[in-house]
Symmetry: C2
Subunit: 451 residues, 2 copies
Amino acid sequence: MSTPQRTLHLNAFLMSTGHHEASWRLPESNPRASTDITHYQNLARIAERGTFDSIFFADSPVIFGDVGRRPAGKLEPTVLLTAIAAATEKIGLIATASTTYNDPFNLARRFASVDWVSGGRAGWNVVTTAGPEAAQNFGIDDQPAHATRYERAAEFLDVAAKLWDSWQDDAVLADKEAGIWADSAKVRPIDHDGKHFRVRGPLNVPRSPQGRPVIVQAGSSENGKGLAAKYAEAVFTAQQTLEGAQSFYADVKSRAVALGRRAESIKILPGIVPVIASTEAEALRLERELDQLIRPEYARVELAKTLRVAPEDLPLDRQLPAELPDEDSIEGAKSRYTLIVELARCEKLTVRQLIGRLGGGRGHLTFAGTPDQVADAIQLWFENGAADGFNIMPAVLPSGLETFVDSVVPVLRRRGLFRSEYSGNTLRDHYGLERPANHRVEAALFDSAAS
Amino acid sequence: MSTPQRTLHLNAFLMSTGHHEASWRLPESNPRASTDITHYQNLARIAERGTFDSIFFADSPVIFGDVGRRPAGKLEPTVLLTAIAAATEKIGLIATASTTYNDPFNLARRFASVDWVSGGRAGWNVVTTAGPEAAQNFGIDDQPAHATRYERAAEFLDVAAKLWDSWQDDAVLADKEAGIWADSAKVRPIDHDGKHFRVRGPLNVPRSPQGRPVIVQAGSSENGKGLAAKYAEAVFTAQQTLEGAQSFYADVKSRAVALGRRAESIKILPGIVPVIASTEAEALRLERELDQLIRPEYARVELAKTLRVAPEDLPLDRQLPAELPDEDSIEGAKSRYTLIVELARCEKLTVRQLIGRLGGGRGHLTFAGTPDQVADAIQLWFENGAADGFNIMPAVLPSGLETFVDSVVPVLRRRGLFRSEYSGNTLRDHYGLERPANHRVEAALFDSAAS
């Protein structure tokens, strides 16, 4: 029996004018892109031309930092992706939504609706949302503790799965002759009664084309990896080195396998910020040009907040203070905190240099080079146990995505690493993920529990 | 000074295969329409061809009754309308959402997003959602009391308005040269601290094209009329007679005027179910044909639930029991309860006849006749203080809407009652409603408070 060839997966992580915080200041950029749906529809069509598996939007129900710094204000992701669904045909559509600041019934319904409207292209990046600022938009003074947020997230996913499965796939009879629209024995309450939620059900949307949306997760803390191992079908991660990425990849896959899942049922996609030019020198020049447009006074305030120190304790041309809080004491974005501190310490960066690095990829790997050099890096990680694919984070949009699609994708196709056309229609088809069986009929709630 | 001519407003109230509960059983109907986005996009294009002001979807976060009876399961309305926005250009898009089972921050954001994506075509039909079944999908055993739901709804609308106004219209500077994206003095927290909600803000979406979505309300109880008088810009209502409609119209307008609003700032649209044919006899035949497809055993169970009696207390061929609960004791859909009981008593209907009437228009006025007769009825109500326009509820979709657009709309246009083309681009333009000033800058939170 021959093993089908393993295929690279590419997700386009989109963000207004690009991931570089100063990208909106470039002459080519539309600084009002963040509320312009045609901008996003155009980006999605470019990614679809490049046969990407999916596009993805980060999200949080709050404004971070100073609105002077960069385009703030984001369209709500399920609305945004629905508008994009109408302008595309094949590409998968992944929206971020918080388990801490949503109700399972409403959110499960919204994702089922996006899955119907898009013909089976919906994915949900599950986040627990760090920070007191978001909590205060929902009547809470401070964020729930990290462990509590993850406990709620796990129960939220259980409830959502039960709701998505509350209609059997063949529940709708549409029997005009007998006058019976659906079989009421196949549309049942879920009667969930747990620590965080009590939900009767059934959902008021029939089971969607994919059965359930694809579950994506992006936290790399211990709790985050635990949640991913049980529930996630794709994981986005920030990794700076091949060794670090290999270790993360092995860790998450083995945790999933320990829970009875197949290693292939969870795809790992590190983020890269490709800065592409015809020569490496030109690529580095582009990168420096962008960094010079950063206004460090905005960035320093936010860095200080993340590190829980005062801005004046971070002189721009010195390294981070020797004394910083322990990761254990951080109740917010734990893995992001650790990543920033390690990056600064390992590379002995000044605050100004650190801000430049974070301003480009916010901790993700920035790779500047020619199309072949970028393809080499992708291939190296893909073939050496570090990645099943990549989360492509263009510094500038749409140009960075266009350049990637027109110059790197053809190289990856020539090397036989990446598809030249879509072979399926759903996000699950693209990622090579099975359509989940309905647990009411034939399986456990999650495949991990079926072992 | 000449007064600009008063123009009729038409809203298409859409519902899968039509408002008649048996419409899905007709040979022409697609019984899987409720999850087919192309069905809805087609309906919206038909309504737009008829230069309707808007389309509208009812909604509740629950399944009512037996899924055997009629197409159950509905796409979430903000997702549904976004997909329709992408397939249309001018028509307004009104989604129903519950103030009892949503958070103000998330919902305000979603409507602002739909308004951006549609270029200023969003409206929100505010409902408080009756019934314990919905409550049980959100961890609550029974619905909050009627008065509590309306109190929460009023505060919810205050919070939403504050969030929509949390960005001034000129907050985004997009100043590339200076490196300042938005003026942080014009994007401010709302710091709302009320009985039901504490919300810090600002919203994470800039002020949308319409400033705020158009606020629609459809409850006709005392609390409902009070909420409408203060907040609503359009009111949907079920009225069976010209006299009843005139009295409702005068009541709501005078309540609004008493609060300092102009009478024109609130549009009243009674619902009608038009059954149109080339002769009156043919129209009546169509209506009977549909009624014969109703399976009364489904409908009786739900009628019994609404009336708070046992199904066996409602023999099909007898009138309603003499003893029924008082409206005052109903904590659910008060105005619907009263409407049903009054309809049955006034017209001395048997349970079977009542079910037929409710199955067609669920209490709204069913009008069967030729295009001229339907136009006559519309004109009569419009010109005699009963309506600013109508909520058109076709019994069968898409054919009932097509017939209305192709046969009744031309008559209304010839009589100078209705537009032949859109003169504006937003829902506010169509309804002749002003774009609300930002209360942070120049006005009270609602115009009623500005008197």
